[in-house]
Symmetry: C2
Subunit: 350 residues, 2 copies
């Protein structure tokens, strides 16, 4: 098993990112030299997908640390605080972003000189990246056991290597099941408004040689009604203590459809996506993005000028619609609250 | 009440159509002088919406009749048969197309000279158009009684004046409820792949001054979950004897969502949309359209080249998801089979 694409790469004094907004037309890379450039790349979704955002944020904070030119520890920490704030303010929903920010902050609280702290922060970012990569490899392996021979799997948005800076969560499982010779097929929701399914998931499945068909989001129900979907797997941006899951807008619709057709609906996410501070999905902050994402596609207007638009980037799927959550520490089923607690203990006892 | 846009106009020796593929960017009209041009306009969706397709088909057949240069009644009828076949072969789902073809065929079976038959066919097409216009006016009036003050109504695809060559069905009701001062708001599904919601429904609601917000199809569930949708109204392409309804792809998904959230789901359609020959929705033929409608938007590629795509143009909503069907002869509720039969008798006793 090898990571199919270098979504994010640390080059010692800069970060290299594949520009996800230009795929599939163009495979181009950005080299970012300061934390503000990383913040902009997250905000503009040149890097997206909760785990990848977490990794980019960690490297962005490491870059921000390198930018601070002082030998005073106090001044360093005060300026680092501002760097972390800038990175954390880019997008509100993905838990991994805040998890990375917290880990980097904690790393900076260790004793030592500014030079030592800078090294420590770099090492911490590299470690966050390595952990996400390892987690997605394990998720892929564990999740593949839930896929049966000949299954047609429906997925929404993109939770592949691009989204995770590793093997992928939902797509990691799909690619692993394919690699195991299960003869699966995939239905890819295009995922308006940003079309991550049409642009990124198709690109990744094509590269991995997995047979797939692209559909519009509005077709998911139709193919379930015809009995042509065996299970659904999606990623997650944040998971509450009770299992309620925020993910790309449209996920809730797919979950309700799967429930109505008695089709298993799986969420795949590394443990960094769980938010222990949040009891239910009602507390997860969402993001309203700009109207132009809906009214224009590839720069072309598809609606009259100046109309009112809604553009929530995420929705919340209540845990009752979720058959299981696939994490790197095990597959969790109802009651999710207990399962998540149990799996959290695994880490503590390690 | 006045028809807001002349979707289709008969000019004595040609048909004038608004080109629905160019809206909302451009309000341009086509003047079609022969039946093949009308067939192409239906096939390419320059005219679309089941009732409007029916009216265009009737005029197309009338044009085809005018094209036949013979005084032999037998030759005329034999060549007219081919004209009707060409028109009927354009699209498979909309019942109104076949209803119009049947009515024109019956009109041609009356006694009389070729000249008399040509006049008769023109008169019949004009009468089909007038009947559709009258039916949509009555549907708008009847349906508006189901909308409560302050409601937010969700609609999918376009069932407005453009789709009906009259006042509209789903959108006729919405516009009439607005005109009655009910203070309603509309959520408009963009309706991929052809974006009739984003392009046409917004254009029509804007012209009518009805407050609305455009959403992607994937957002419908989210707004229902938040309690922000009071009812759904859609049009129909064909309705079976038991009430099962074929309509634009994505309608079924909206119906399942409405059912799960206990939100009334209304279908609005003139009686020409009912197919007495079909017991259930399973018998309704659907249409698979070209992959390019999914992989390209406004000529821009949104997915990798050469991938496999599904593009069914319609889905079927089983009657159990439908709260009521609004026709020009009354509002029909479960059991739909009986209701449709009762309403059919109204016509016969007239």
């Amino acid at each position: 098993m090898k990571v199919p694409v270098k979504t994010i790469e640390w080059l010692g004094d800069r970060v290299r990112l594949i520009d996800q907004t230009r795929l599939p037309k163009e495979e181009s890379y950005l080299e970012l030299k300061d934390h503000r450039a990383v913040a902009a790349a997250i905000r503009d979704m040149q890097v997206r997908g909760a785990p990848a955002i977490g990794v980019a944020a960690a490297y962005g904070i490491a870059l921000g640390a390198l930018e601070i030119n002082t030998s005073s520890r106090d001044e360093f920490l005060s300026r680092l605080e501002k760097v972390i704030e800038t990175i954390a303010a880019t997008r509100p929903t993905a838990r991994n972003l805040f998890m990375a920010a917290e880990r980097m902050k904690k790393a900076a609280s260790a004793p030592g000189s500014v030079t030592a702290l800078k090294k420590r922060l770099m090492a911490e970012a590299i470690s966050i990246h390595a952990a996400e990569e390892a987690a997605t490899r394990e998720i892929s392996r564990l999740g593949a056991s839930l896929i049966n021979k000949g299954d047609t799997v429906l997925t929404h948005c993109n939770a592949g290597p691009l989204a995770t800076a590793g093997y992928g969560t939902a797509l990691g499982i799909i690619i692993e099941a394919h690699r195991q010779g299960k003869g699966i097929r995939v239905l890819v929701d295009e995922t308006r408004p940003r079309l991550q399914g049409a642009r990124l998931t198709t690109w990744e499945l094509k590269a991995a040689g997995v047979p797939f068909r692209l559909i519009t989001d509005s077709m998911a129900g139709h193919f379930m009604q015809r009995g042509e979907v065996n299970c659904v797997i999606v990623g997650a941006d944040r998971i509450a203590r009770n299992g309620d899951t925020a993910n790309k807008i449209g996920t809730y619709t797919v979950a309700v459809l799967a429930y109505a057709h008695q089709i298993p609906f799986y969420v795949a996410a590394p443990f960094t996506t769980f938010d222990r501070n949040i009891a239910t999905g009602a507390e997860i902050p969402s993001e309203e993005r700009c109207a132009g994402e809906v009214t224009r596609i590839e720069g072309q207007a598809i609606a009259p000028e100046g109309i009112e638009v809604c553009n929530p980037a995420f929705d919340v799927t209540p845990h009752k619609y979720i058959t299981a959550i696939i994490t790197e520490r095990g597959i969790i089923r109802e009651p999710f609250g207990e399962g998540i607690g149990e799996v959290q203990k695994i880490k503590k006892s390690r």
